[in-house]
C-alpha cells in the first residue's frame, strides 16, 4: 500500500537535494563542495526514511541507518584530507 503523502514529501525533498547538487557543481572552493555533499547526505537519509514509509518497506530505513554512518566516516576523512593529514 502506497501512502501518497510520504511519497510527495520525498519528492519535494529531492528538489532540495537537487539544489545541494547544484552547489556541489558550482562551488567556488573545495570546502563549499564538501558542505554540499554533507547537506546531500542528510537529505538522502530523510528522503529514504520517507520512502520507506511510503512503500511500506522497513529495509529502506535500515539502508538509511547504514548510509548515515558511512557518510559520516566519509565526511571525516575528507575533512582530515583538507587540513593536511593527521595533525
Amino acid at each position: 500500500m502506497i501512502e501518497p503523502v510520504f511519497f510527495y514529501a520525498a519528492l519535494i525533498i529531492s528538489i532540495g537535494a537537487f539544489l545541494a547538487i547544484l552547489r556541489i557543481l558550482l562551488g567556488p572552493t573545495v570546502p563549499d563542495r564538501v558542505v554540499g555533499v554533507d547537506t546531500l547526505n542528510t537529505l538522502v537519509v530523510a528522503g529514504m526514511v520517507l520512502l520507506g514509509a511510503a512503500y511500506d518497506r522497513t529495509i529502506y530505513i535500515d539502508i538509511a541507518i547504514v548510509y548515515a554512518l558511512l557518510s559520516y566516516i566519509g565526511t571525516l576523512i575528507v575533512a582530515r584530507y583538507l587540513q593536511g593529514g593527521l595533525k
Binding site: G16, D32, L50, T58, L82
Partner: protein
C-alpha cells in the same frame, strides 16, 4: 485526526529542508553556508522521522502487525545516528576549512585566528 498531525510534521520537514538547501545558495562563504545548511536539515529530518514514527505507531494500533513496530524503532535508530554524527561532521569541516586557509568573507573579527596566534607566540 492523526492524519493532520502527520501533515503538520511533514510540512515542517519540507519547509526546513528546503530552507537548508536554499541557504547553500544565499550565504557568501563556507562557514555561514555550513551554519544554515546543517542546522536546518538536521531540524527538518527530526520532523520527517517523527512523522514516520507517528504513522507506524498508528498503523500498529489499527492493524496489530509487528512490522510497524519494527519500522518505528528502526527510523528512531536512524534519527539517533544522524543526531550523533551530523554536528561532529560539520565541526570537522569548519575546522579543516579554517586550517587550510579559507577566511570568512566580510568578517571583521576572527576570534579563532587570534586564539591560534596567541598560542603560537
Amino acid at each position: 485526526m492523526i492524519e493532520y498531525l502527520i501533515y503538520a510534521f511533514l510540512a515542517i520537514n519540507i519547509t526546513f529542508n528546503l530552507l537548508g538547501s536554499i541557504a547553500l545558495h544565499r550565504f557568501p562563504d563556507v562557514y555561514t553556508r555550513l551554519h544554515g545548511a546543517t542546522k536546518c536539515t538536521t531540524f527538518g529530518t527530526i520532523f520527517a522521522v517523527l512523522a514516520v514514527v507517528t504513522h507506524a505507531l498508528y498503523r500498529l494500533h489499527v492493524t496489530g502487525d509487528p512490522k510497524y513496530l519494527q519500522m518505528a524503532l528502526h527510523s528512531f535508530v536512524a534519527l539517533v545516528a544522524l543526531l550523533l554524527t551530523n554536528p561532529v561532521g560539520a565541526h570537522a569541516i569548519a575546522k579543516a576549512a579554517h586550517l587550510s586557509g579559507y577566511k570568512p568573507a566580510r568578517a571583521v573579527i576572527d576570534a579563532y585566528e587570534e586564539k591560534l596566534g596567541g598560542e603560537e607566540e
